[in-house]
Every structure is written in C-alpha cells, then in structure tokens.
Symmetry: C2
Subunit: 338 residues, 2 copies
C-alpha cells in the first residue's frame, strides 16, 4: 500500500495526501479529515526509504562504538539505552555500528551509504581517525569524550583527569600514603583511549602532588583479571592501603582478591574510582566513587547532535561533566590517620 492508494480512496491527489499528512501546506479541514480517515482505516504509513530518498534525511542517527568482543561494560549499556530513548523522543531511530576504526565496513556503510543523518561516537581515543575523517568530510557527529584537540568539536564528556584526581585527594585526605591505580586494559591505554589516558594522567599528577607512593596497573575487563591484578598489587607492595579504579568490570574481582588476601574493606583497605552508580552499588561494601552519569551523557549527546543537524554551520558546543564523588562505604582512614 502506498500514497497513491490513499489518494485514490480519498478522492484526492497524491500531493494532497502528502500535505495532509505533513501539514506543510494548508489543507481544507474537510479533505484533511477524509484523508486521515482512509489512512487510519488502512493503517497506512509512508515508507521510510522513499521518504529518505525524496527529502534527503533518514531520521536515523548512528551510534558508533568499538566491537568489544564480548565485553560491553554496564556503563556502555546504560549509555546506549539513554541514547536510544533520547533519539526516540525526537522521532529518530538509532542505528548501531560496531566500529572501532575508520576502516570498519560497518562504519563505511553508515556514512558512505548515507544511512544516518548524523552520528554519535563512543569510546573516543585521543587521536581518533574516525573523528579526523568525519571532521574532514564535515559529517555531523558528536563525540562522547574529547580527543587531544577538543577545541573545535562537538562533544559531551567526562573530566576523567579531575575525577581521578578527586579520588586520589580523597584517599590522601584520609591518610593513605601508598596507593594503586587499576586502569582499563593495556591495549586500550596503548591505543590512546581517552578515559584510560586522562585517568592515568590525573592519578599520576595528584599522587605526585600529594607525595604519595603510587603504582599503576592495567587490568582486563573481567572479574578474573581484577582478582589477578589485586594480587599483583599486594605482591608488588604489600603496604598498599588503597586503590583507585576506572575498571567497572574488574571491580568484583578486586573485591574478591582483597577478601582472599584477608583485607577488610574499608577497615584496612580503601577502594574508590570512577564507576556507574548501579555498579558501585553491587559490591559490598558499596563503592565510594565518582558516578559516571551515563544516561545524562547519552541525552546530552543526542541533544547536541540534533542541534547540530538543525542548525548546520553553528559553532561547536560541548559539555564537560564533573560529577562529584558519592561517599558510600568503601573508603576509610589510612595508616597515617591512625
């Protein structure tokens, strides 16, 4: 069934049906009613493909994120969910593209075949060829996170440096002197993954500033790795009394390792970091952490993208979020406070 069918049955022309539906041209109340009635009766809906072809907009946004193998983090999920809903609220669909790099087929399809009006890029790297490419062809996109040169871009992100610094200061204030940093997987750090890099930077600087003895570790995104990482930490420096982590997926493993090593949290070991709230709350005791506002980031990203799409040529806007640390139960006084 197509628009011609409707026109026929309503006894008007196809253009009139189109206008009656879109409201882009005045239509007499009389015809409008008749058209709507036929449309309702037949359950007619205009074909998205035809419409996209005709007016050059697909009403679809792309969400680009690296294929994670099997490991999507809870934060990513929250984020995807909020993006879908924000897009739906604006009558846009969301097309998923598992693409870490510019050359991925799926990425090429998304852009080359013009399947989407604009895109949101997750998991930004400091040097990101996807960002470079999209910028160079002036394709409308919003990044989640900042590259090394965030000045002239559209993005919404977290100030990982400040967040991790805040964690370190919190621990230092509590009297901890020997602390560890549990980062995301090494491969992510090496490839310049933003949060891993900026988080590490914040940790190193704040630790130096406070004169702490600090060690940094990379840790794969699963519980087993978290446990192993914790063992390494205590092996390398048994006097370590606290850690900061960005690694949500390893959290349970870190706790397990601590329990196995006979360390009580927070009594003789403090744990903190940057983690989505609902993950911070799954461990016992609950994690004192800077809560990643994944849902808010998703909404902001969609807002920015729609704004960019509606006003081509506007100068770039961005949002840098610095959520506060939520005090829960995983940090306590360190040795010097005793």
């Amino acid at each position: 069934m197509n628009i011609g069918e409707i026109a026929l049955r309503a006894g008007v022309s196809r253009s009139t049906v189109s206008y009656a539906l879109s409201g882009k041209r005045p239509v007499s109340e009389e015809t409008r009613r008749r058209v709507k009635q036929v449309v309702d009766e037949l359950g007619y809906r205009p074909s998205a493909s035809a419409r996209a072809l005709a007016n050059g907009r697909t009403s679809t946004l792309g969400l680009v994120f690296p294929p994670a193998g099997n490991h999507y983090t809870g934060m990513q999920l929250d984020f995807i969910g909020s993006v879908v809903e924000a897009a739906a609220a604006r009558d846009h669909d969301l097309l998923l593209s598992p693409s870490g790099v510019d050359s991925d087929r799926s990425f090429q399809r998304l852009l080359g075949e013009r399947r989407v009006d604009g895109a949101i890029l997750m998991e930004i790297r400091l040097e990101d060829d996807r960002v470079d490419h999209l910028t160079s062809v002036d394709f409308p996109f919003v990044a989640i996170g900042r590259t090394a040169h965030p000045e002239r871009g559209w993005w919404a992100g977290l100030d990982h440096t400040a967040l991790v610094e805040a964690c370190v200061h919190h621990l230092a204030d509590l009297g901890h002197r020997r602390v560890a940093f549990v980062n995301r997987p090494e491969q992510l750090l090496r490839t310049g993954y933003e949060s891993a890099r900026r988080g590490l930077e914040g940790f190193t600087e704040a630790a130096a500033e406070r004169g702490l003895t600090a060690r940094t570790y990379c840790c794969d995104d699963d519980a087993a790795s978290g446990r192993a990482c914790l063992q390494r930490i205590l092996h390398d420096d048994p006097a370590t009394t606290a850690l900061v982590t960005l690694n949500e997926a390893a959290l349970g493993g870190l706790y397990r390792g601590l329990a196995e090593a006979g360390r009580q949290v927070p009594h003789d070991f403090s744990v903190t970091g940057v983690v989505a709230a609902r993950w911070a709350e799954t461990v016992t005791p609950q994690l004192t952490a800077a809560d990643v506002p994944a849902a808010e980031l998703g909404r902001l990203a969609v807002d920015l993208l729609m704004e960019r799409l509606d006003n081509p040529g506007t100068s770039p806007r961005n949002h840098l979020l610095v959520p506060p640390i939520s005090l829960r139960g995983s940090t306590g006084p360190g040795p010097t406070a005793l």
Copy 2:
C-alpha cells in the same frame, strides 16, 4: 555523487555501472575495470535509501527491546552486543527500538515504515501482543524466548523451567530441605514475562517433587532490593539454607544480605541460579549457576532471522538451549547431609 556521475566518467551507462558493481549481469573485464577504478577514485558508494527503495530490502535488522525505565541486566547487555556483531558480520545494520507495547511509536516506525527487513524481539511474554501482531501481518521476526504457544514460531530461547529445576535438584541432592526462589520483579511476573513464569514453574514443581519446603519471592532488579529480599527470606524462615535466583542484578545484594546476617556462603548457605557467566564470576564465592549463553542466543537469533529472510515461506525453526550448571563455589552440603 551518484551512479550517473560514475557512468559519465567511466563512459558507460548507469545500468552498466550498477551491474559492474553487483555482478548480476556479465560485464566485460575491460569495462568492469574502468568502472571500478572510477568508483575507487571517487570513493563512491550507492545510497542505501535509493537502493532500499528500488529493491525493497533495507539490509537492516531491528532489535526490539523494552524501555530502560528499570535498567538493563547484564544478560541483555551481552545479548545486544552479540546481535550487533552477528548482524555486522552479515553486512546488516541493526536498528534499535525501545518498545514495550504494540502501540509504541518507535515500534510502528520500525515496522510500519519498513525501516527493517526483519526484527528480533527480546523480553518475550507468554502472551505477547507484539508477537501476535507480527505473526498476524506475517512480518519476519525471531523471538528471544517462547510464548505460551511456541509451536509455530521462529525463536531461540532458554529452557528456564528445566534450568531452574536442575538448580533445585542440585540443592536437594546436597541435602537442602528449606529453599527460597528469588525471581525477577513482580511486575514482570505479573505481566507474564517468560523467564519469570517458567522459572517459577520449574522451581515449584521440582521443589514439590523433592518434598522441599519452598518459598518464592519477587525482587526488583537492583542490589538494594536483593539485600532486602534476603532479609525477608531469613525473616520468614530463618531455617532456610539455600536459594535459587534468576535475578542477576540482585545477586550482589543477596550476597551482601547473607554476609550481614552472618551466613557464610557456601558453608551455611547455598546460592545458585540462572545467570550469565561473567556475572556469576563477579561475586565471592563465584556462583554455581546455569550460565545464560547470551552471546550464543544473539548469534542464533540473527542466524534464524537471516534464514527466514532468505527463504520466505520456510517452516519455522527454533533453538531451545539448556546449558548445564557450572559448579563454582557457592553451593555446599545442606543440613541433612551433615
């Protein structure tokens, strides 16, 4: 840039370009080369909208999942990830639709506007109006899970009844006599959510068969509810020595509640259930559980859908998975075994 441009530069007709690209008609080696060269030079890719309009296929699959209102579980996360990647592997994109009910706008857009060739439906209910609707209009879809009448449908699912029964038998074999069942949220059970219903059914039957004293609970999808639920369990029957759960998100809370009540897992309380492996491994001790093969389900669903799309009219196929229980550390001998 369009196909006409390519044709012009290659000195051939538009149809020849089309055929040179699709290979659906023999083209002389000579012209084929020339066309390809121009295409590569200009980085030409045919417009997805135009192609979709012309041949009636969008090369896009839809994934219909419930609104995030209450957040997603880890299993859903794994599942979505595997579906995206399986689709990408077959050169199909994935369109997300946060849709609960038949009347949902986004659901209508996806199907009514023919944005996708087929769909995968998550979170099936025993009586599911989405399934009924799609079946009645003969729209190609695959369900994740079975409705009450699974005979004539395309689906991939888990045998929750058998899985939970296996858990109960495992506990009974260990000598537990008083057991509890921690289900998904009450609202899901009430609305006929498949896993909640079938799981409950399996629990009740197996418990009766083994002559166990059994209580069943609903529990919201978060750690705090898990903790509260456990308190209720011990309050209702302090002699309870084991529980079976389907509720991944509550798991951490259940453990916390047990710890607070002074119960050692597995020494004086056993915990088991149906949970994705990587979540079973985040708690201490690791959960003995039937591992939900979320990734495999995702792959299977995409396989089925592609099969259905490629062979319209084929008789329905399905996969019922019954993964074994993985023995980890959370179950131990019950009172009668002592």
